[in-house]
Point group: C2
Chain length 368, copies 2
């Protein structure tokens, strides 16, 4: 969907002649009251559910959650997936041409924030004729967008579903992001962010960034269970610093390699920076309850016990701040072994919590 009106950004800059890639699933009802917006995290896209014709492996990233008969049931809801500005899966991003210069944006793509994404999503909804969302939902960075929606467009959100998220990044979260960014930026193939013209990709940096990411997505327990100290080959040590010795090394190198083949370096910088910047309490002297006073939605928060990236305590901060404002909040702390990754995995209790919550929303919708 192309947008000709410039979008003003938090930074003071603006972006014009941009496009947003999106997909929809299910049918918008006559009253346009059954729309659910799905917000994605760092490396996902608008393709949230289903497979593309003739591509059986093209499953959407939240296909276990969204679809016919699934927790977010597309027989009842009209689900919208949208790729964020600055991402690399179809919406306008660093790989596209800057209309002001006629050259590829590269590092000149403006820094975008969670607030900017929400504004862009709101314009998409305007175009689709959707005034109010039955729900906005996301995990991790997507959960931040859902929370932001409830603040920025309180009257347009009936429910916000915030999964495995946080009211802001802590110092350690920012630290990991910064290491990943430095790995990309200092890769000689980064060329100051204008590597497209050179026909190269900062693959070394992207590999390192992804390896760091994977460590923080998994719990200690699941890593020990899945990999432990298992050697990749046989039982004899090879005594090498560069060859793969342990299974965990093999796994990380594989993930890094795969990622460096499809993800854009500038997008990685933008996405991690949006994470760093998100902090609704900032303009309220750090008082989250005060920041969330402007919300009107009902909330479902979900966290996972072994998530050390966005620990349950961070979700509880949001829950407490909402309760301080006497908002309707449901909160589920799921005892799952998989760390931050759990929000994308099949966990019966988790999926059932979301299913029950959306059944309630559907019932409201019928009543409305």
């Amino acid at each position: 969907m192309p947008f000709s009106q410039p979008l003003p950004l938090q930074s003071g800059a603006a972006i014009r002649d941009y496009a947003l890639s999106y997909e929809t699933y299910g049918t918008l009802n006559a009253s346009k009251s059954n729309a659910v917006l799905i917000c994605h995290a760092l490396n996902a896209s608008h393709h949230v559910a289903g497979v593309y014709e003739g591509q059986p492996k093209s499953e959407g990233w939240w296909d276990n959650m969204i679809g016919s008969g699934k927790p977010v049931d597309t027989d009842r809801f009209f689900v919208i997936g949208v790729n964020n500005l600055g991402s690399c899966f179809g919406s306008t991003g660093p790989m596209h041409v800057n209309p002001d210069t006629g050259r590829v944006y590269g590092a000149d793509f403006p820094v975008v924030t969670v607030e900017d994404w929400v504004d862009a999503q709101a314009r998409l909804l305007d175009e689709l004729g959707i005034r109010q969302l039955a729900a906005v939902m996301g995990g991790s960075l997507g959960g931040m967008q859902a929370l932001c929606w409830s603040l920025r467009y309180p009257e347009r959100v009936r429910h916000a579903v915030v999964v495995a998220s946080a009211p802001n990044l802590n110092a350690e979260n920012i630290a990991f992001n910064e290491v990943a960014r430095r790995a990309i930026v200092t890769d000689p193939d980064f060329h100051g962010g204008h590597f497209y013209a050179q026909g190269v990709v900062p693959k070394r940096g992207l590999r390192i960034a992804r390896m760091i990411g994977h460590i923080t997505y998994l719990s200690d327990d699941v890593m020990n269970e899945k990999f432990g100290r298992q050697l990749r080959e046989g039982i004899d040590l090879k005594y090498s610093t560069q060859d793969i010795e342990f299974q965990i090394e093999s796994y990380l190198r594989y993930q890094g390699e795969k990622f460096s083949g499809y993800f854009d370096g500038n997008t990685y910088l933008l996405m991690t920076r949006a994470l760093d910047y998100f902090d609704p309490a900032r303009t309220h002297g750090g008082n989250l309850a005060q920041a969330l006073a402007q919300t009107q939605a009902k909330f479902l928060l979900v966290s996972f016990t072994t998530d050390w990236r966005f620990a349950p305590a961070r979700s509880r901060e949001i829950v407490q701040a909402l309760l301080d404002n006497k908002r309707a909040v449901s909160y589920a702390e799921i005892d799952a072994p998989h760390g931050h990754d759990a929000f994308l995995l099949d966990d019966a209790r988790y999926l059932n919590v979301v299913r029950a919550y959306f059944a309630r929303i559907a019932a409201e919708g019928v009543a409305a």
Copy 2:
């Protein structure tokens, strides 16, 4: 101290014509019964205490622990600090010439293990005429050496003091090491480990390695307290992905830069690999108690509550395995906010525990 006899290594290789840098503090008594060997961790050296003549800032890395009147009191003990083989602070390492080829070792320096270091240290003690240590002591990777001493030379160790350590690395520990190694190895200035001849240093990789290290040395709590979400300059955001915005970024970049100016890339690979490989239970089917059956020493174990690199639970594994063998074990779990770094810092309870333990050792020595 030069050694002409080749040292056989765990890998099956051997190293010849090597030298070990060491320092001693205090006086060896007539019965040679008051020697304490200090083993260093990843990036430290033989310079454990005191300052060099005219260099007031050259404080040893464990100067708060070792010296006249300090917990390891050099008025009573003869303390030996030794730089490990493969390190970059004086002992033979990758920057030195391989006598077999006449060329700088670089990546050809043999992979060394904790066991190899202990063997080399034992030869140094032979040269110094010390048959038995009053104590061997180390933190982190140094603690692994202390534990290894008690296994490899049971009759030569009266006490082993193992601080902030673990019986082996878990998958997450190995994962962080591997990311750091990949950052170094894939730096174009690494040149397959033979960068000395090119007049370059894999600084980009070393910076990333050190930044990752620092994140794992600090606790979440101390990071939030020291840095939190504090901006480096003023209160306005700059909206940049590459400029420093948060204090934590500034801190990490500074640490990375400093480290890349003095540490050797090949040494980093060797040290992290030695960490990965250490696992005394491996040759006992994973049974640590069985592995530790051959120890004869008495033990002091110390861990720190917020250390998530080598969590207290890992020290408790060692304690339990020693108790299973009815060894004399003292264990202190220090409630300290500083994470893994705590083993190098001033914490009164920690220093007092070590002081009391060494006072006991001294009393024994007098009795003997």
